[in-house]
Each structure stands twice: as structure tokens, then as C-alpha cells.
């Protein structure tokens, strides 16, 4: 039966080429616009660490010793050195990572190229296994290296390509600012989207959050080694007083350190929460801090809190779907015109015994076919749209591509939209009374 409907649908579409082209165009443009933005949304809103994100938590404690209004205030996005170190030393979580970013001058001794300004992440050894960071050569440093402030580093695959032509550079020396460090590990190409472990301050960005989707750091150093080597170059998230020595923040009245923990079960999460609260409470009692508010958000919760999806992308998605809605209305009108124009033919079929259901099914088949063709054209338009997005110089341009799931969604959306559009006209067509139509012939 379906083959017959399909045959009828193809004949009908061939009969009125203008209407068919208009309908396919409407669907294609609507799908092209909405799938382009939906694909970008999909890429930017995905889970950067699927399967693991629910075990990773970002801790917040408010280390500010000055009171300024409001009892329930959100703790700042980063911690002061003392709070972060206290929590880290307490070792209450299976794995934990301190992080602090800073710009640094890097060169390879003996290489002819000028020094590079890069971003260095000072972190702790557990960072790599916690965030599933893949290694090409070598390994992370050991906790012992960390304690000894060993001069070791892990570098990105990008930097390894630049300085060592992609060869195994483990054991080689890197000049970081004025210190020589030994490379112990080289990462595989790693492109978390967003650079989730470093997302802070989203609430103050007014939706201008494209930078979260930039590339990750090129140099990773043990936390204390990094602090020592690049002293004077650290940037605060916020200060409640001026640091006596700008860029040297260890005992400055500033928030600048991030702290992640890995907690494997709800019980561990609950007990860590209790620990965090009691720590803050204790510090408040000691008079070091004023607000005992703490937060422990999981990775996705932290990204949500920071409103990571850029506002422009959200706005574009809304626009695209408004656009798809207009295309839908357009198609409903055109299909109605098409089906009712064939009132005579449908009347004859009804008089010859076709049921209403059969007429309805046939009309929907035709609508679905238009959707399928429109979907194919829409897919091509989406590829063009994504190419245009890639040409824009946004930090996430290089991420934008069509994946299998989005390819499937394109066609499903096109067919569903066309079937929706076809339902009403098909219903009207199936209601055509046989006798009335025969009389006019």
C-alpha cells in the first residue's frame, strides 16, 4: 500500500513543480537555519566529560574577612590561597586538584624560534586522571614531585608540535620564564569544550562567554613549582584589598585558586559537603572569614551556574526556530492549496471506495516525501551554515562540525515538521465528500 502511496505522491509532486519547489525550499531553509544553530548549541552545551562529570565537584568557600551586607551571599567563583590549601591538605576526597592559571614565557633551549607567551596551568598530580586527560608520551608527575617542588612539566600536543616537531620530547628541557623544567609528559590532542575546569565568572560576563570554548593550556606544572617559577604573574579573580605585591597572591587578600574534588558515591558527596560546611563554620568561629556559605556543585551544575552558552548562540537558536515556525505555516498553506486543488481526483478515489484513512495516509505520504527532499536540501544548507560559522573568528569555530546524531536529527526534524504541516491539509482532504465532487464533473 505504501509503495502505491509513494508512487501517487511522486506523480503529484511532479505535476505541480512550482508548488513542490516552493515547499521544498521552505522546509530546506527552515531546517538549514534551525539545524545550523542547533548544531552549534549541541556542541556548546554538551557534557565535556560524559560518564564522569557527575563525580566531579567544584568547591566554593568565601574567604572574605570583610562584611558587606546580605546574609545569603553566593561564595565567589574562586578561593583564597589559605582556604584552598586547607581543603587540599585535608585530603578528604579520593582525588583533588588545585588550579591556577597564569601567562608565562616559554622557549626550548637551543631552538631557533623566539620565546612564546603561553598560558600555564599550575595544578596537582590528580588533575590528569581526574579529568581523563590523554597522554601521548610519558606520564603526569608524581605526588612526590609535587611535594619536592620538582622542576617538571607536562606539555600540550600543540606545543610539542611547535617546539619538537611532534617527536617524543619526554626528558627534554623547556625554559619556563627563567627556569629550566624537564618534560615528563606530552598530551594527546585534547580539546575539552568548554575548558570546563577553568570556567569562572560566567555570571559577570553578560552572556559573552565564547572564550570558555577556547583551547586549553599548553604547559602544566606542579602547583607549587608553578607558583614559584612564575611568581608575580598570577591574576586574581577578585580582591577585597590591594595585594601588597601585585601578581604574588599567596598571602594576598584575593580569590584566585580553583579547587576540584572527585567523589564517587552519594555518601561521599554528602560527607564532603558536611566537611566543607564544618570547615567554613570553624573558620568563621576563628574570625578569619565572615560568611560561612559554601557550595559544592557538580561539573554540569557548575557550568550551568556559569551560564556557559554564549548569549549570541541562544539568541540565534531562538531566531532560527521562529524562522522554522514561519516555514511550517508556509508549508501548511501550500499543502492545503495542493490537496484541495485535487478535490476532484480525491472525490473520485473516495467514490471508488478509498477510505478516509487511505486518503489521509496518502496525503501524509506526500507531505513526508516533501519533508525528506527538503531535509536533504536542508542538510546541504546546514553544511553551508556551519561552514559560515567556522569562518567566523570565534574561539569555538574549530569545534563546529556536523556529527552523526545531528545528521539524523536533521532528517527526523524535516520529516516530522512536514508531517505536522501535512496533518491539517490531509485531514481536510480526507473529508472531501465523494458525491459532491462527482456531481461537478
Amino acid at each position: 500500500m505504501f509503495a502505491y502511496y509513494l508512487d501517487l505522491a511522486i506523480r503529484s509532486l511532479k505535476r505541480n513543480k512550482l508548488l513542490t519547489v516552493l515547499m521544498v525550499l521552505a522546509i530546506a531553509i527552515g531546517i538549514g537555519a534551525s539545524m545550523t544553530t542547533l548544531t552549534v548549541m549541541h556542541l556548546l552545551s554538551g557534557d565535556p566529560l560524559p560518564g564522569k562529570s557527575a563525580q566531579l565537584f567544584y568547591a566554593q568557600v568565601d574567604g572574605d574577612p570583610t562584611a558587606h551586607g546580605g546574609t545569603h551571599r553566593e561564595p565567589p567563583d574562586m578561593m583564597d590561597y589559605r582556604s584552598a590549601l586547607d581543603l587540599w591538605r585535608a585530603q578528604r576526597a579520593g582525588r583533588q586538584a588545585l588550579i591556577a592559571d597564569s601567562p608565562v614565557k616559554v622557549s626550548a633551549p637551543g631552538a631557533d624560534r623566539p620565546p612564546l607567551m603561553l598560558t600555564m596551568l599550575s595544578t596537582t598530580a590528580a588533575f590528569f586522571p581526574m579529568f581523563d586527560v590523554p597522554f601521548e608520551y610519558g606520564n603526569a608527575w608524581t605526588p612526590a614531585d609535587e611535594a619536592n617542588r620538582a622542576r617538571v612539566a607536562v606539555i600540550s600536543s600543540d606545543l610539542n608540535d611547535k617546539l619538537f616537531d611532534g617527536r617524543n620530547s619526554v626528558g627534554k628541557t623547556l625554559r619556563v620564564r627563567q627556569s629550566d623544567v624537564r618534560i615528563v609528559g606530552v598530551l594527546k590532542p585534547w580539546r575539552p569544550s568548554p575548558v570546563f575546569y577553568n570556567v569562572v565568572g560566567g555570571r559577570f560576563a553578560n552572556g559573552d562567554t565564547a572564550d570558555y570554548y577556547g583551547k586549553s593550556e599548553d604547559v602544566f606544572l606542579p602547583f607549587f613549582t608553578g607558583l614559584e617559577i612564575n611568581d608575580g604573574h598570577f591574576q586574581q579573580f577578585n580582591c577585597w584589598g590591594q595585594p601588597p605585591q601585585p601578581g604574588h597572591l599567596e598571602n594576598a587578600p584575593c580569590d584566585w585558586v580553583g579547587f576540584w574534588v572527585e567523589l564517587d558515591s552519594p555518601a561521599e558527596v554528602a560527607s564532603y559537603r558536611t566537611f566543607l560546611d564544618s570547615y567554613a563554620q570553624q573558620q568563621k568561629t576563628l574570625g578569619r572569614i565572615v560568611y560561612a556559605e559554601t557550595r559544592l556543585r557538580d561539573l554540569m551544575g557548575w557550568l550551568d551556574y556559569n551560564l556557559v552558552i554564549p548569549k549570541n548562540v541562544k539568541l540565534q537558536t531562538w531566531l532560527a526556530f521562529a524562522f522554522l515556525a514561519i516555514c511550517l505555516f508556509n508549508m501548511v498553506g501550500l499543502l492545503l492549496a495542493k490537496f484541495l486543488r485535487r478535490a476532484g481526483e480525491i472525490g473520485v478515489r473516495r467514490a471508488l471506495g478509498a477510505s478516509r484513512r487511505a486518503v489521509f495516509a496518502q496525503c501524509l505520504t506526500e507531505a513526508g516525501l516533501v519533508g525528506l527532499i527538503g531535509g536533504a536540501a536542508g542538510w546541504l544548507l546546514t553544511l553551508v551554515g556551519l561552514w559560515l560559522v567556522r569562518r567566523q573568528q570565534t574561539p569555538y569555530s574549530d569545534l563546529v562540525h556536523m556529527d552523526v546524531s545531528m545528521f539524523v536529527v536533521t532528517f527526523v526534524l524535516a520529516v516530522v515538521v512536514s508531517l505536522l504541516a501535512g496533518a491539517l491539509p490531509a485531514l481536510r482532504a480526507s473529508r472531501i465528500a465523494p458525491a459532491l465532487q462527482l456531481k461537478t464533473l
Partner: protein, 408 residues
């Protein structure tokens, strides 16, 4: 126009569904059109912000990677080296420039105790002569003199300074009062207003933040200082600026081999402005694309449905023609019909436009839709409808009266 509207309305009643569909399509188009236009003008007006400085004469050079302890020597070497480039009028140390990197946001209070918090303006630090080099326009008070440039003993700012503020910041801090001589604080650091400038935009302009686009303070300071090291303002004749900047960037490698040039921020101010508004420009372009495609799709829809209608009513048209209706009558009939349907759509569309605007205002901090947008959108859609229906209507008008005598 002595067209009878009554019979058209009566005829439309027989095509309620199709009429409603076209009207809905027009309504949605109207709603999206008005708001998309609003977003475009919003972006475009943001792009024309007055920075308050002589952009076409200014360039910025940022260095990184040098040792803070050696900053004084580096700054002196670089300033002298850059000043030696033919065409350079002056070189100053400054922490940032409009459209440059964010470099000095400080929360301020109106009292020394730090209770009366008044927001987070951007603080520009510059060495002697910087306000003149920037081309700041004074509207009250005086420019900083030699004695106003203070050394920075600790932290980021001089302990106490005589500063310039913008008219916008003065209005925010002391509405309706004379700002000259007024004081404010950031922590322990005290500021006293000696002059008010017409405009000076923050480096990273943001039209939607709590911070105003011109909440800026100019603090006269003497290097060395952590915020005043390795970043230079170059002034040159607008005709020489591009050449001077190319030469300056090339000279850095020779003058300061111990530093790394920050390519992202080292540029002429016109180039920094262009870079800064790149995404806004792309978004405006995208919106224009959406509007064009939207109008196109809407017009196609009208052409399609109107063609169908004409085909369906060939016989009636033939009868009317046989009864003496002129071609002009038939043309006018379809045009009036389209006008009526589009009008229904527009009425709904105006309501939706305002509704969408309210949603955008809530979630995207878009301003209120100016009311004059509505009549403009309405006229645009009327014209679009008339244009789209023209071809099918002309085809209808071409139906010969003899059709009336044929059976089908």
C-alpha cells in the same frame, strides 16, 4: 477605490483555513521582523560608541614576558626606541586604551569606611601628558599637572590621587551636584576629582553590564607600577599611524629582545575597534540574512496560495469578466483581498512583536521596542503582500471571459 469589501470578506469566509494560515504567517513575520530590526539597530548603535579619544591618531603596544623587576629599564628603552620612529609624535605609558584589554577594574565607595559602594568603574593609569595625548576633552575643572602625577608605593594605585572622571561617572556618583573636589575611595586609596571629561569609554565596552560604558577614571601616575609597565600609547598623525605601528612592532624585537610582543592587543585603535565589534558585525549580518530569507519565504507562501486561489476560481473570474468586470477590477479584487488578509495578520503580528520583545527584554536585556518600528514593519509587509500577489493577480486578470462558457 470603490471596491466592495463586503463581498471579499464573504468569499474569504469560504476559505477560513487558508486565510488564517496566511494571516498567521504574516503575523509571525511581522513579530520576528520588528524584533530582528531592533536587534540590528541595537548592535549598530553599540558599534558607534564614542570612545572620547582621538582614535585615528593612536596606537597601542603591549609587551609581555619581561621580568617585573626589570620593568623600569625596559619601559625606558622601549619608550625611547618607539619615540625615535619617524612620524611618532609621542609615546606614553598607559595601562590600557578603549577597545584594548581589560586592565584596571576597581570597586569604589563614596566613603573611606567602604560602606557606600557605587560600582566597579575602569581605572586608566597614565604617565605625565597621557590625557593630552589621548585627546581627552575637558568639560570642567583642569587637566592633571606635573605635581598630580604620583608614584605608586604599594599595590596598583597611588595612595591618594587627583583624578579625571567622565561626565557619565560624575552623574552616576553625584547626580545633580558639582563633581569638582568630590572624593571617593577604593579600599585605602583616595581619589579627588580635579576635572571632568566629556567621554572616555571603558576598554571592554559592554552595553548590558551593571557598569556603564563610560564609568572611567583617569589616574595620573608615575612608573614603575605593576599596571604601568610594558604597555604603551603611541600618538602619530592619522596618515602615518599604520606605517608607524608596523615599524613599532618590528622595532620591539630589536629594542626589547627580553619581552614578547602581545600581537592580539598591539594595534592601532581603529583596528582594535574593528576587532572588538567583530562578533556584533557578524551577528548584525546574520540578522539581515534572516530578515531577507524570512521575507522571501513569506512572499513565496503568498505567491503559492494566491496562485492556487486564482486557479480554483478561474471559472468565477470568467463569469465576472463575462458580466462586464474589467481586468483592472479583477486585479483590484485580488489585491484588496491580500490587503485584508495581511491586515488581519499584522494586527496579530503587532501583538506578538510586543510579546516577543518583552521576552527578549527579560532574557537578553534587549531594549523596549520603539513604537515607530511597528508602522514601518506594517507598511513593509503590506508592500510585500501586494508585490507577492501581483503575479497571480495579473494571471487572474488575464483570464478571458470565454472561460465562463466552458464546463470545467
Amino acid at each position: 477605490m470603490h471596491m466592495q469589501i463586503q463581498p471579499i470578506l464573504a468569499a474569504l469566509k469560504h476559505h477560513k483555513l487558508a486565510t488564517v494560515l496566511i494571516a498567521m504567517e504574516i503575523a509571525l513575520a511581522c513579530a520576528v521582523l520588528c524584533n530582528a530590526c531592533l536587534l540590528i539597530t541595537n548592535r549598530l548603535s553599540a558599534m558607534h560608541i564614542n570612545s572620547g579619544v582621538d582614535e585615528s591618531s593612536l596606537g597601542f603596544i603591549a609587551l609581555q614576558g619581561f621580568d617585573p623587576a626589570a620593568a623600569r629599564d625596559l619601559d625606558a628603552r622601549v619608550a625611547a626606541g618607539l619615540a625615535g620612529i619617524p612620524g611618532v609624535e609621542s609615546v606614553h605609558l598607559i595601562n590600557s586604551v578603549p577597545f584594548g584589554m581589560q586592565a584596571g577594574a576597581f570597586g569604589i565607595t563614596l566613603d573611606q569606611a567602604g560602606k557606600q559602594f557605587r560600582g566597579v568603574p575602569e581605572i586608566y593609569l597614565g604617565d605625565p601628558g597621557t590625557p593630552q595625548a589621548l585627546g581627552l576633552k575637558l568639560v570642567a575643572g583642569r587637566m592633571p599637572e606635573a605635581g598630580d602625577y604620583q608614584p605608586i608605593a604599594q599595590g596598583y594605585l597611588p595612595a591618594s590621587s587627583n583624578v579625571l572622571v567622565t561626565r557619565a561617572l560624575a552623574g552616576h556618583l553625584w547626580p545633580g551636584e558639582n563633581p569638582l573636589g568630590k572624593q571617593f575611595w577604593t579600599g585605602e586609596n583616595q581619589f579627588r576629582v580635579i576635572g571632568v571629561v566629556a567621554h572616555l569609554a571603558v576598554p571592554q565596552y559592554d552595553e548590558e553590564g551593571e557598569r556603564g560604558a563610560e564609568w572611567t577614571v583617569f589616574v595620573p601616575a608615575l612608573p614603575p607600577a605593576s599596571l604601568l609597565a610594558g604597555t604603551f600609547l603611541i600618538r602619530a598623525h592619522p596618515q602615518d599611524l599604520d606605517r608607524v605601528m608596523v615599524a613599532a612592532k618590528a622595532a620591539i624585537a630589536r629594542i626589547a629582545p627580553d619581552a614578547v610582543l602581545d600581537h592580539e592587543w598591539s594595534d592601532t585603535l581603529p583596528a582594535l575597534r574593528t576587532k572588538f565589534f567583530r562578533t556584533d558585525r557578524a551577528m548584525a549580518g546574520l540578522l539581515v540574512g534572516v530578515i531577507v530569507a524570512l521575507l522571501g519565504v513569506t512572499a513565496f507562501g503568498i505567491v503559492g496560495l494566491a496562485s492556487f486561489w486564482v486557479a480554483q476560481r478561474r471559472k468565477q473570474i470568467g463569469i465576472r469578466r463575462a458580466l462586464g468586470a474589467t481586468r483592472a477590477d479583477i486585479l483590484r479584487y485580488f489585491q484588496t483581498e491580500n490587503f485584508l488578509i495581511v491586515t488581519f495578520g499584522i494586527v496579530a503580528g503587532v501583538v506578538m512583536a510586543i510579546g516577543i520583545n518583552l521576552v527578549l527584554m527579560k532574557f537578553f536585556e534587549v531594549p523596549r521596542l520603539p513604537l515607530w518600528y511597528l508602522p514601518v514593519g506594517v507598511v513593509a509587509l503590506w508592500l510585500l503582500g501586494q508585490l507577492a500577489v501581483l503575479a497571480p493577480a495579473l494571471r487572474a486578470a488575464a483570464v478571458p471571459p470565454v472561460v465562463a462558457t466552458r464546463s470545467v
